[in-house]
C-alpha cells in the first residue's frame, strides 16, 4: 500500500463515516424511512435532486428540513401554489434608491438561491413556474434578464408532491421529472415507528439535531464520489437495465412491451451510476458494483417511464415494470462484459 492509495482509503473511510453520521443525525428527527433517508443523502452527494411523493402528513417536509439542519447550509422552502410566479422563485429586478437618492436596478435573489431548496407540493404550481426550476436544477445557474447567476454548491432541490388531491394540480412534465435524480415514495409507517412518532410529537421532545458538517465538506464528498471507478461490466449492466425499459428492445421483458410508451432517458443510467458510486463509498468500498446499480434502479427509473394507455388503464405501477426489467436483465453476459 503506497501513500496515494493510503490517502484514498482514508478519504473513503471518512466519507463512510460522515455519510453515516448524516444519516444518524437525520434519524434523530425522522422515524423510519431509513431507505429514503439514505437515498436522499445519496442524491445530495451525487449532485442530484430528489422528488418525494407521498400522502400528506408522512414527514416529507420534515425529512428535508432535518437534512438542511444536519448539513448546516442555506435552506429555503418554497410552497408551490397555482398563483406562484417564476419570479417568486428565481428572484426579480427591483428599483433601489441609494443613500444619495439615485435609483438603480438591482436583482433581488429569490429563494432558489440556497443550498437546499424544498419545493413543497411542486405539482400545485403552473408549468410555467415549474419550468423556472429547470435551468437551476440542470445547470445550477439562474438567468434573469441578460445576467446569469451561478448558484452556490451544493445546490440540492427536494420536491414533494401529493398523489392525492389531483384536482387543481399540474403534473410535472417529463422534462422536469427527468431532472430529478431520484423519485422516492414515502409510504405509511409501521406500528412501532408510528408509536415513536407519537412519542416525539405529542410530548416535549428535543431532537437535538445539529450540523454534522459544513458546505466545504459536502463539496469534498461530492468530488470524491466522481472519482470512484466503475468497471465496464457494471456500466453495461446499468445500460442494459435502461435499454430494458425501452419497448421492443431485445432485452425488454413482456411488461415493458405491453405497458410502457417511453422508456428511460440516458439520465437514468447516469442516476444509477452516480447513486451506485455513493452507495459504494457509503459502504467503504472503492468501486461500484452491479448490486449498487441494482439498488439504485427503482428510485432512478420509476419516474422516467411513461406508461401507455393500457398501462394507465390497468393501473400499472412503474415500480413493477422496473422490477420486471431487473429480473430479466442478467448482471453479466459471458463474453460481453
Amino acid at each position: 500500500m503506497n501513500q496515494e492509495t493510503g490517502d484514498v482509503r482514508v478519504q473513503v473511510d471518512a466519507f463512510q463515516r460522515d455519510f453515516n453520521r448524516l444519516v444518524t443525525e437525520i434519524r434523530k428527527e425522522i422515524v423510519g424511512y431509513d431507505e429514503q433517508i439514505r437515498l436522499v443523502a445519496t442524491a445530495l452527494f451525487a449532485r442530484g435532486h430528489v422528488l418525494l411523493e407521498g400522502v400528506p402528513g408522512l414527514g416529507k417536509t420534515q425529512l428535508v428540513k432535518a437534512l438542511a439542519q444536519a448539513i448546516h447550509t442555506r435552506f429555503s422552502r418554497i410552497q408551490f401554489t397555482p398563483d406562484l410566479m417564476p419570479a417568486d422563485i428565481v428572484g426579480t429586478t427591483m428599483v433601489v434608491e441609494d443613500a444619495g437618492g439615485q435609483k438603480t436596478f438591482r436583482f433581488q435573489r429569490g429563494p432558489i438561491f440556497a443550498n437546499v431548496v424544498l419545493a413543497d407540493e411542486i405539482n400545485r404550481a403552473t408549468p410555467k413556474t415549474q419550468s423556472a426550476l429547470l435551468e437551476a436544477m440542470q445547470e445550477h445557474t439562474v438567468t434573469s434578464g441578460d445576467t446569469t447567476y451561478r448558484l452556490e454548491e451544493p445546490f440540492f432541490v427536494l420536491g414533494t408532491q401529493n398523489p392525492l388531491e389531483m384536482e387543481g394540480t399540474y403534473p410535472l412534465p417529463e422534462a422536469q421529472l427527468d431532472r430529478f435524480l431520484f423519485k422516492l415514495t414515502v409510504d405509511y409507517l409501521g406500528e412501532d415507528d408510528l408509536v415513536e412518532v407519537m412519542n416525539r410529537t405529542t410530548k416535549a421532545h428535543q431532537s437535538g439535531i445539529g450540523p454534522v458538517f459544513d458546505i466545504d465538506r459536502i463539496n469534498q464528498m461530492i468530488e470524491l464520489v466522481r472519482r470512484v471507478p466503475v468497471a465496464d461490466h457494471v456500466v453495461r449492466y446499468a445500460v442494459r437495465i435502461v435499454r430494458g425499459t425501452h419497448p421492443r428492445s431485445e432485452v425488454a421483458p413482456e411488461p415493458v412491451n405491453r405497458f410502457v410508451k417511453y422508456g428511460s432517458s440516458p439520465r437514468g443510467v447516469q442516476a444509477m451510476i452516480l447513486g451506485a458510486k455513493v452507495r459504494a463509498l457509503s459502504e467503504g468500498r472503492h468501486h461500484a458494483s452491479c448490486a449498487d446499480v441494482k439498488a439504485m434502479a427503482l428510485p432512478a427509473l420509476r419516474h422516467r417511464l411513461i406508461l401507455n394507455f393500457e398501462g394507465e388503464a390497468e393501473d400499472v405501477r412503474t415500480d413493477s415494470v422496473v422490477e420486471a426489467v431487473l429480473a430479466a436483465v442478467p448482471e453479466i453476459r459471458e463474453g460481453a462484459a
Binding site: M1, N2, E4, T5, D7, V8, R9, V12, R227, V228, P229, V230, A231, D232, H233, V234, A280, E283, R285, H286, H287, S289, C290, A291, D292, E331, I332, R333, E334, G335, A337
Partner: protein, 491 residues
C-alpha cells in the same frame, strides 16, 4: 503504474477449470439427450444390433463434443471473477479489478483489495462452480426408456421359442445319417474319376456336420436336408436327360451284326463292357484299314470302312459318356436315398410337435378345434366315408382321396441303372358327379402307394413328407373297417 493482478488472475484460472467441467457435462448431456431422442424414434425401425451400435457411437460422439466444447469455447475471465464475487460477497471486486486500468489511486486501491481478497482464500472451485446436473440430464431417462422399449419390443417380437434338446433317438438317427453322408463324401473324394466338384463335397460335409450338431433343431436340419435334396434332384434330372440323349445316340450308332454283343451289354446297362467290345472292334477295323491301304485296295471300300470307324469311335465316346453319367447318376441317387432315409427316420420320430410342424412347414397353425386329439380320432375322421362320392367337393379328406383314384395309368421309367427298373403310378383327377368304381380299401392303398412313389421320386419337399405319410396312413382303413365298411357304398 498498474498494480500486478497475478493473484487475481491465478484465482480466476483455477476457477476456470470448474467452469469447463460444468460446460463439458452440459455439452455431454445435451448431445446425449437429443441423440437419445432421435434414437428412441429410429430404434423402432432398425435392428437391435444397429441401435446398440448407434448408442455406442452416440456416447462417444457426446464425449468428443463435450471435450471440444470445453476446449475450444473460451471462458470469460470477467464472468468467472463475477461468479466468484457473487459467491464470496466481494461486490464485484475481482471482476472490476480485471477491467479497471490506469494510474488512478482509486484503481490501485481496487487492485490491492482484489489481490488481498484473492489471496485470502474464500470459496473454492467446487463452491463457485458446484457440480450440478444439467437440465437435460434430468430428462435423459425418458428417451433412454424409449430406446429400451423399442429394443425390448423388437427382441421380444423376434424371439424364437425355447429350443428343445434333441432326444437320444433323434440324435442316433442324425448321427447315423451324418455318418452315411460322411462315408459317401469320403469315398467320392477318393474317386479320381468322379466329376464331383469340391462344392458338392462341401455341401455333403456341411450337412453331415449340421446333423451332428445338437444345437440345430430337427426342423432346421430337415430344411437343410430338403435344400440339398432339391439341388441333387435337379442335377439328377439333368443327368437323366443327358443320359437319355446319349442312349438314343448310342442305339442309333450300335447297328450291325458285329455289335450284337455290345448292344446286349448296352441294354443291360453294362456300358463299360459294351465300350470295351466297341474298342476291340475299332482296333480290328483300324488294322483292316491299314492292311487295305497297304494292299492298295479299292478306295471306295476303304472310305466305307473309315466311315464305319468314325461311327464306332462316336459310339465309343457315347458309351464312355453313358458310363460316366451312370456313375454320376448312381451317386446322385445314392445320396438322395440316404437323404430320404434320414428324412423318413427323423419324420417318424414320435414326439414331433404337430403345431410346430404346421407353423414351420405349412406356414400356418391349424386351430386346435380342427386338429385330431389322438390317433383314433384322426382315423375316424379320415375313415368316415363321404356321402357325396365322386363329386370331389366334399371337405373331408376321404372325399378327396376317392376322387383322386378314378383313373390310373401305368407308366414305366428307368430311374437308376445300378438297381434295375422301377415303376410308378400316375394319378389323375376324379370325374365330377360320378360314383367311384373302386373299393375304398383299394383306392386308399393306391393313393398311399402313389404318395409313397411321389415321395420316393423326391417330388415332395422333405418337410412335408411326414405330414403326407401321416395323412395317407390315416386314410388306410383298419382290418375291421376293411371287412364291410367304410366302402359300403363303393362298388
Amino acid at each position: 503504474m498498474t498494480s500486478s493482478l497475478a493473484p487475481v488472475r491465478a484465482r480466476v484460472a483455477e476457477l476456470a477449470h470448474g467452469r469447463r467441467r460444468n460446460r463439458r457435462a452440459s455439452a455431454f448431456c445435451k448431445t446425449l439427450f437429443w441423440g437419445l431422442c432421435a434414437a428412441a424414434v429410429v430404434a423402432w425401425f432398425v435392428p437391435v444390433q444397429t441401435t446398440v451400435l448407434a448408442l455406442g457411437v452416440l456416447v462417444a460422439l457426446a464425449a468428443v463434443i463435450a471435450l471440444v466444447a470445453a476446449t475450444l469455447i473460451p471462458v470469460d475471465p470477467i464472468a468467472i471473477a463475477k461468479r466468484y464475487d457473487d459467491r464470496a460477497g466481494t461486490h464485484d471486486l475481482l471482476a472490476s479489478s480485471l477491467q479497471l486500468e490506469g494510474d488512478d489511486a482509486f484503481v490501485r486501491a481496487v487492485h490491492e483489495d482484489a489481490c488481498a481478497a484473492a489471496e485470502a482464500g474464500g470459496p473454492g472451485t467446487r463452491e463457485v462452480f458446484p457440480t450440478r446436473l444439467p437440465r437435460e440430464a434430468r430428462w435423459l431417462p425418458y428417451p433412454a426408456l424409449g430406446c429400451g422399449a423399442a429394443m425390448l419390443f423388437l427382441v421380444l417380437s423376434a424371439a424364437t421359442p425355447p429350443q428343445r434338446a434333441p432326444s437320444e433317438e433323434e440324435m442316433a438317427v442324425r448321427l447315423s445319417g451324418a455318418q452315411a453322408l460322411q462315408d459317401i463324401r469320403d469315398r467320392l473324394a477318393r474317386d479320381e474319376a468322379s466329376e464331383l466338384n469340391s462344392e458338392r463335397l462341401r455341401a455333403l460335409q456341411a450337412l453331415a456336420d449340421l446333423l451332428k450338431n445338437e444345437q440345430i433343431q430337427r426342423k432346421d436340419a430337415l430344411a437343410e436336408l430338403a435344400k440339398l435334396a432339391a439341388q441333387l434332384d435337379k442335377e439328377r434330372r439333368e443327368l437323366e436327360g443327358r443320359k437319355l440323349a446319349a442312349e438314343k445316340n448310342a442305339t442309333r450308332l450300335a447297328k450291325g451284326e458285329d455289335l450284337k454283343d455290345a448292344r446286349r451289354d448296352m441294354e443291360g446297362g453294362k456300358y463299360r463292357e459294351a465300350a470295351a467290345k466297341v474298342q476291340k472292334k475299332i482296333e480290328e477295323l483300324q488294322k483292316k484299314i491299314e492292311e487295305l491301304k497297304k494292299a492298295k485296295a479299292d478306295q471306295l471300300e476303304i472310305e466305307k470302312m473309315e466311315q464305319r470307324l468314325k461311327e464306332l469311335q462316336q459310339l465309343l465316346a457315347e458309351l464312355l459318356d453313358l458310363d460316366a453319367l451312370g456313375r454320376e447318376l448312381g451317386f446322385e441317387l445314392e445320396v438322395l436315398d440316404v437323404l430320404d432315409r434320414i428324412e423318413g427316420e427323423l419324420g417318424e420320430l414320435g414326439e414331433f410337435d404337430g403345431e410346430e410342424f404346421d407353423n414351420v412347414q405349412l406356414g400356418r397353425p391349424r386351430p386346435p378345434g380342427e386338429r385330431p386329439e389322438n390317433d383314433e380320432e384322426a382315423r375316424q375322421l379320415f375313415a368316415y366315408p363321404s356321402n357325396e362320392d365322386g363329386r370331389g367337393h366334399n371337405k373331408t379328406v376321404l372325399g378327396q382321396a376317392k376322387r383322386a383314384l378314378t383313373e390310373r395309368q401305368e407308366e414305366e421309367a428307368r430311374l437308376r441303372e445300378s438297381k434295375g427298373r422301377s415303376s410308378f403310378g400316375q394319378v389323375k383327377t376324379a370325374n365330377d358327379r360320378s360314383r367311384s368304381q373302386l373299393a375304398y380299401k383299394e383306392a386308399a392303398l393306391a393313393a398311399k402307394q402313389a404318395a409313397e412313389d411321389a415321395i420316393y421320386r423326391q417330388n415332395i419337399p422333405p418337410g412335408y413328407r411326414t405330414y403326407i405319410r401321416t395323412y395317407f396312413e390315416a386314410l388306410q382303413p383298419d382290418e375291421h373297417a376293411a371287412a364291410g365298411q367304410p366302402a359300403g357304398r363303393d362298388k
